[in-house]
């Protein structure tokens, strides 16, 4: 494939020539109002209305000091602004954004998606509490070829007062695939193609539908020999893809895209008149696809609800999701059996970061920025250090800006505590009495106890109908079989142990911050598929999907995830791994009721892998004080 596409970061030097060339075009006298059909006037008025609605929220993303680098758009009143990663890449972490009000605001990188070419920055208000104009996010899946669209931004760094330029054109195609530029980054999956004019400097700017809803972030075009200006073929990252990564980016994460952990190829590329099938060839041992029993030659017939008949469709669908998300897939075995299942996606950033980090070598595949002195000599960077935004930067591996992870963690913990109350006072031994219904049909009484010995080592026991299992999770030298107790649960004891640590101690109970997976961090957003309370239900897993906020924890060597309803901070589920190479034990909480001032779940559904294990119904909690 020849190098057909380029990105649209501005090169300011071209601006002067373009201004001069554009001027003579404005000389045709406008038609008088009387000549114009009222329908045309009405359509024009509507267009003007849409432009005016969104115009104040369109940003020029600048080097610190105001030199325009690209465009952006404000999506919340507190100043969160979307742009391209290839715009912020060279100017992070502290930059400035100009709005149509003519003012430059200090801004700081929050999160980024290198592969998807998206970055989230936060603009600082001139006065604490001032609100920014912002736009509404649309639903880009509703966008169709043949619809009108508006692109806005600051092409060629044209407007020195940051008043955005608006261009108008047609959606030319949707669900387009444009392969990565550079080593695996800047891959445009499921993107929107349009003939609306975009030029250098439009990068990162918004694409709107005619209701003024944000449907994409412009960033790329097909140019080939037509030169690096509008060629009638521009691409925007769909807003629906960005929504999936937004929770991660808000949490300061340097997000990663996903792989299935398996190789999928088209069957019979050359032969077929009919649509291709996608078949699995290799499946990594450590992948969820492997654990779900997928075999080479099995057919991938649907991925996250989309039918699959080409690699473009597959790459489009895969590109929509962050690493670690769980999505439903449909697999047809060679024998013809059809099975819908949930798979956890693996990350893919390690693959190319590893390739890229060659010592003493320039990064391949990325254009340099001519005329830009190295940061240490750059006066703009020196000035940026004195910006209040510079105080909002915390560097940490795996994060674009860890400062925002801390903010999001604190906010979520506060929401959870407001919803559930605090169990901090109940640091003593705990017990649950209730009933259990196992997936194999057995049921009966259950008693669960948490007891700390003199050294503070917890032992947790579960007794159902007289059969007892126990575990001292941090006592060391435990076999996998012990950690996974009770058998078939994937480590329910370990999960319940972590649940108590979480409820009673929160941040303080987990490992002090570690390098890549700190002991207690915000993990962005993930879809959760709560298990139906009826343990034998055969309902398709995708039916219960809810998007949750995530806290990731690590206690000793054990990782956990805790899922919260983003609306009110309710704890809806958790996952606990006894081994990162295995499926976690999944807990789904419901029927939250007050116990001594703490709202605790009285129904807990337990699942491991693709099987339900049991549903626990709590009659009573006994919460001991220290």
């Amino acid at each position: 494939m020849p190098n057909l596409t380029r990105f649209l970061r501005t090169r300011v030097t071209v601006a002067a020539g373009v201004v001069a060339a554009a001027a003579p075009l404005a000389l045709i006298p406008p038609a008088t109002a009387a000549d114009v059909d009222p329908k045309v006037k009405a359509a024009e008025a509507e267009r003007v209305k849409a432009v005016n609605l969104v115009r104040p929220a369109v940003a020029a993303v600048c080097f610190y000091g105001g030199q325009v680098c690209g465009s952006g758009v404000v999506i919340s009143e507190d100043g969160y602004c979307l742009t391209n990663y290839h715009v912020t890449e060279g100017i992070s972490p502290v930059m400035q954004c100009g709005l149509a009000d003519g003012l430059l605001y200090d801004a700081v990188i929050v999160g980024q998606d290198k592969i998807g070419d998206v970055a989230l920055v936060k603009m600082l208000p001139k006065k604490e509490g001032d609100k920014f104009p912002f736009v509404q996010l649309g639903n880009s899946d509703d966008t169709k070829p043949g619809e009108w669209s508006m692109a806005m931004g600051n092409p060629f760094g044209l407007a020195l007062d940051f008043t955005p330029t608006v261009t108008y054109g047609l959606i030319s195609g949707t669900q387009r695939y444009q392969p990565p530029e550079g080593k695996g980054t800047l891959e445009y999956t499921d993107c929107i193609q349009f003939d609306t004019s975009i030029n250098p400097g439009n990068s990162g700017g918004p694409l709107f539908n005619m209701k003024g809803e944000l449907i994409g972030i412009n960033g790329r075009g097909s140019f080939e020999k037509r030169g690096r200006v509008n060629s009638g073929v521009g691409y925007a990252i769909s807003i629906n893809q960005i929504k999936n990564f937004l929770g991660h980016m808000k949490a300061g994460i340097d997000t990663d895209h996903a792989t299935l952990g398996a190789m999928v190829i088209t069957d019979g590329e050359e032969g077929g008149e009919e649509l291709n099938k996608l078949v699995f060839t290799q499946i990594l041992d450590e992948s969820d696809a492997f654990r779900r029993g997928i075999k080479p030659q099995d057919q991938l017939s649907a991925f996250a609800g989309r039918p699959m008949s080409s690699t473009n469709q597959y790459k489009n669908a895969l590109g929509l999701y962050p690493k670690d998300w769980r999505v439903p897939i449909t697999v047809r075995s060679a024998a013809g059996a059809r099975k819908e299942m949930l798979v956890r996606l693996m990350g893919n950033i390690d693959t190319f970061v590893g390739e890229q980090e060659q010592p003493n070598q320039p990064k391949p595949g990325r254009p340099g920025r001519p005329g830009q002195p190295p940061p240490e000599q750059n006066p703009a960077q020196a000035k940026a250090k004195k910006s209040p935004a510079a105080k909002l930067v915390v560097e940490k591996k795996g994060y674009a800006n860890f400062h925002f992870n801390k903010l999001e963690t604190d906010r979520l913990v506060a929401a959870f505590t407001k919803q559930h109350g605090s169990a901090a006072a109940f640091g003593g031994n705990w017990a649950i009495d209730g009933t259990v219904q196992l997936v194999d049909g057995r049921s009966g009484e259950v008693k669960i106890t948490w007891a700390d010995d003199k050294e503070g080592v917890t032992e947790i026991k579960i007794n159902r109908n007289g059969i007892e299992d126990s575990l001292k999770p941090l006592s060391g030298n435990l076999s996998q079989a012990e950690l996974a107790l009770p058998q078939g649960s994937g480590g329910l004891l370990l999960a319940l142990y972590q649940l108590r640590v979480f409820l009673t101690k929160m941040q303080a109970g987990f490992n002090p911050n570690e390098n890549i997976y700190p002991g207690f961090v915000h993990g962005g957003t993930e879809p959760v598929y709560p298990m139906p309370a009826d343990v034998t239900s055969k309902a398709p897993p995708a039916a219960t999907r809810t998007l949750c906020e995530v806290i990731r924890t690590k206690k000793g060597q054990f990782e956990g995830k805790w899922f919260f309803d983003p609306k009110d901070g309710t704890l809806v589920g958790g996952e606990s791994w006894f081994d990162k190479g295995e499926d976690p034990c999944e807990l789904y909480f419901s029927d939250h009721k007050d116990v001594s001032g703490v709202k605790l779940p009285h129904k807990v559904a337990v699942r491991w892998g693709d099987k339900g294990y049991a549903v626990l119904t709590v009659k009573s909690y006994t919460l001991g004080k220290k």
Binding site: A43, R176, D195, G232
Partner: protein, 372 residues
């Protein structure tokens, strides 16, 4: 009353916009467009084009480009089917190639049994009055090879700027069509767009997107389409006759269209200048003039021995080989502008090319291997 009418109009306006008429037109027209791929699968920058379906039996039109110089022509239908196709007949002066989807087991000329629902009836479409400057147009094509299989082709919009002839572009890009074209204000003629339908806002066929050509004066690309009723005058030996695109299609479908005998074969050496160069000993021997044939266009134009040919029509010429390669694209009666270095100066000379004198040895040019 007037006020009530206005109020009603305002209330209705958003609903009318919500059902954007171009969406339906786009969906329907996409069914009539094929993605055409030449030899070597999907590699190579110009090895793909766009086809417009014109019969239920799988006939389609595309531009008569080198994409078709293959026995392995492949098309992708809107429903995702991938099928073979054959070129039935081409007419360079209409820049049109009539092709047909091939169905395995069917002999040439036999009905294919495809029974396609969606296609343009070119005879009927050609009877429609021309679009006027200022009218909306929609362009459908697989430019930049963006779509594969059942992915819809790209749609672009614009207006007709003028309906006129393209002058003085022939030869530069071997563009033999001399009739009228629609010139449009959108960038519709990207790589591979040629052959796609240009429609009005209702999806009625106006013409076919032309191949990529550049205006040699302004060095800008021209966005144009050859109208559905395009008519050209052809020279067949000593006779002249006119042929229209619908006639070409009708006769072509019946197997009765006879391609004309051209004065100069497309693959010939091109027009005659009467320049002889120094012996071509190197891969990149500089094109120094060694001899000028008496009475030749070069002599009439005032070229001298020892002039170094540097540009033809603005394109740089580096070697004897690149000179011949360029000249291949010209033919007799065309005018080319040569810039030659004479001493320290560049001289500009216009030559009206002639026919090669009988018996004169023509240069042989080997083309560089095609990049894969």
């Amino acid at each position: 009353m007037l006020r009530r009418f206005c109020l009603l109009a305002l209330l209705l306006a958003p609903a009318a916009r919500a059902a954007d008429p171009f969406v339906d037109v786009t969906e329907k027209t996409n069914q009539k467009v094929l993605k055409v791929f030449g030899a070597g699968g999907f590699r190579g920058a110009t090895n793909y084009s766009t086809g417009t379906l014109i019969s239920a039996d799988g006939h389609f039109l595309t531009v008569a480009s080198q994409t078709l110089d293959t026995s392995e022509l492949i098309v992708h239908l809107a429903d995702g089917r991938r099928m073979k196709a054959v070129v039935l007949v081409t007419e360079p002066e209409l820049d049109a190639a009539l092709c047909q989807i091939k169905v395995d087991g069917k002999k040439p000329g036999e009905p294919t049994g495809l029974n396609l629902k969606d296609y343009f009836d070119i005879e009927a479409e050609a009877k429609r009055p021309h679009a006027e400057p200022g009218d909306w147009v929609l362009a459908f094509s697989n430019l930049f090879e963006i779509a594969m299989r059942n992915e819809p082709v790209s749609v672009m919009q614009g207006t007709v700027m003028s309906y006129s002839k393209l002058h003085g572009r022939r030869g530069i890009f071997d563009f033999p069509y001399t009739g009228d074209v629609y010139v449009v204000d959108a960038i519709t003629n990207g790589p591979g767009a040629g052959g796609g339908p240009l429609t009005n806002r209702k999806g009625e066929l106006l013409g076919f997107i032309g191949r990529e050509i550049k205006n040699s004066l302004s060095e800008t690309w021209i966005n144009y389409a050859i109208p559905t009723d395009a008519t050209v005058t052809l020279r067949d030996g000593d006779k002249t006759e006119t042929v229209s695109l619908p006639e070409f299609v009708r006769l072509g479908m019946q197997g009765k269209y006879k391609p004309r005998i051209r004065p100069v074969a497309a693959s010939g050496p091109g027009g005659y200048t009467g320049i002889k160069f120094v012996p071509n000993v190197l891969d990149r021997t500089p094109p120094y003039i060694d001899e000028i044939m008496p009475g030749s266009p070069a002599e009439k134009g005032g070229l001298l021995v020892n002039d170094l040919v540097s540009f033809i029509d603005g394109e740089p010429i580096y070697s004897i080989k690149s000179y011949h390669e360029y000249m291949k694209r010209t033919r007799a009666d065309m005018t080319v502008r040569l810039e030659v270095r004479r001493g320290d100066n560049l001289q500009s000379v216009e030559l009206k090319l002639g026919e090669w004198p009988k018996g004169m040895l023509k240069p042989t040019v080997t083309l560089p291997p095609e990049k894969k």
